[in-house]
Amino acid sequence: MSKTIAVAVAVFMGAIPSVAHAQVPDLDWQIAPGANAGDLFVHPSGLTGARAPQPGHTLFVESLLETGAVSMAISTDDAGIVFVRADPVEEGSEDLSGAAGPCSDGAYQRDWDNWNYFKKWSSDTLPTPWYIRTSTIPGYLDAAATIDAIKDSAAAWPTEHNDCGRGDIIATSELSQQYGGSTTAATDITADGYCTTPSRKSVISYAPLPNRILAVACAQTENVRAAGETEYNRLIDADVRINSDYTWKNTVSGCSGSRYLTRAVMTHEFGHSYGMWHVSESTSGYLTMSTKINGYCQQPEYTLGLGDMMGIERIYDRG
């Protein structure tokens, strides 16, 4: 039998209109004849149970198991009639359980255009400096530590920083950007999160953005066609605006509460700056470039997964 991890119970206020009785069975609710508020009901699995709530209340109880969940609901209407709904045990499903591990999932999103046209930093402009508008670093963060965290985020890509035991096969000369220091220049990103004309200076700053946006990355290119060469798009400017309305922590050490990790989010953002797109959260949720960060104080995005590395290698002509 599965081990129970947690049980949660909640009672909702609010009466069930008596006229709804006839409709209840259609929603898999059953009247419990003779039952009263306070009577104990046990789920058929034996894995959870609860007492019928007071009239006018609905109660939900769910036990989270190692392999899934079991839940039931009990509702007592204003007239004292008790309704019960026992949901089947929901077992975890391997084939629908989502993401593969970070070291085995080779997913990356290729550009719509062909690879020769891929947007990337060009060796003729490297090393390309990027800057931090340090005056925007929130006062509750240590500025020097924030700069270090962002530098580590940037370095994750050219060094292919990973926990998979995989070596770095991108030559530094192929993808070398360096921290250019502090700047007073603004990003080319508006407070609404839109990109403006490129300034040709890559800037990272903390500044307000609309609700629910954690960060915006704008990468802008110019067409290049040298004699005898295939036309390609050369990145000329990659800015990131981090939403200062959220609460941040530089690294996972000491992180608690509703804080997002600068290093985790910025590793993802630098991925965009280097030319990476998103991959699916539901199928590749452990990769840095998946659409969702893993939550507050979560650090998996610090390190690249297999797909992240294969993608960056493909862009920069390795692998």
Partner: protein, 193 residues
């Protein structure tokens, strides 16, 4: 990237169905004087079409790239987790369609979870701008997570996009699109999340 998976897992159950989507704030003053071409930087909307009407998804993370006079511009917006704010009421075994408005090409994946839960109960592929699907779900409230890994529009935008939609499978309730908050209004038997 959206804050989600582990946080979701930490939510052992969902009581009040979260309407946490929030509303994008109206544009505030910016330091830039230039008025950006916002349309070219906006992904095509994700829409759930059913007999109840059209429900536009709560936008989640996306990247959209478009051409400029001298090159290209790619805007990637990474968002915290979006929850559906509305639910399309549908019948069991009814039909819906996921539409990527304005798209000429689209591919990706749709996953369906009980509202407030993390385990997928259904999954199907986005195969083009319009993906029909017959509902094979037990009555209850669901979140429909759409992840478009690649799209292209007629006006030249391309990229990826994602969004969250809500579905209420119900045999009796009037076909309509209702706010998620309606599930918290004491209609006990319909609170299946």
């Amino acid at each position: 990237m959206t804050a989600g998976r582990n946080m979701k897992q930490n939510l052992i159950f969902m009581l009040a169905v979260s309407a946490a989507g929030g509303v994008l704030l109206a544009g505030s003053a910016t330091a830039q004087t230039e008025d950006p071409d916002t349309e070219a930087q906006t992904p095509p909307p994700i829409v759930l079409v059913s007999k109840a009407g059209r429900q536009r998804a709560v936008q989640e993370s996306f990247c959209v790239e478009s051409d400029t006079e001298t090159g290209t511009r790619r805007r990637c917006v990474d968002m915290v987790d979006g929850r559906p704010r509305r639910l399309s009421v549908v019948r069991p075994r009814g039909r819906i369609a996921i539409i990527i408005d304005d798209a000429t090409e689209a591919s990706g994946i749709v996953t369906v979870q009980r509202l407030g839960r993390t385990r997928d109960v259904a999954r199907f592929r986005v195969q083009g701008p319009r993906t029909p699907w017959r509902i094979r779900l037990r009555p209850g409230a669901y979140e429909v997570e759409v992840e478009v890994s690649a799209f292209r529009t007629a006006d030249g935008r391309r990229g990826d996009t994602s969004g969250s939609l809500g579905l209420l499978v119900d045999r009796n309730r009037r076909i309509s699109i209702i706010p998620v908050s309606a599930l918290r209004s004491g209609r006990g038997p319909e609170l299946t999340a």
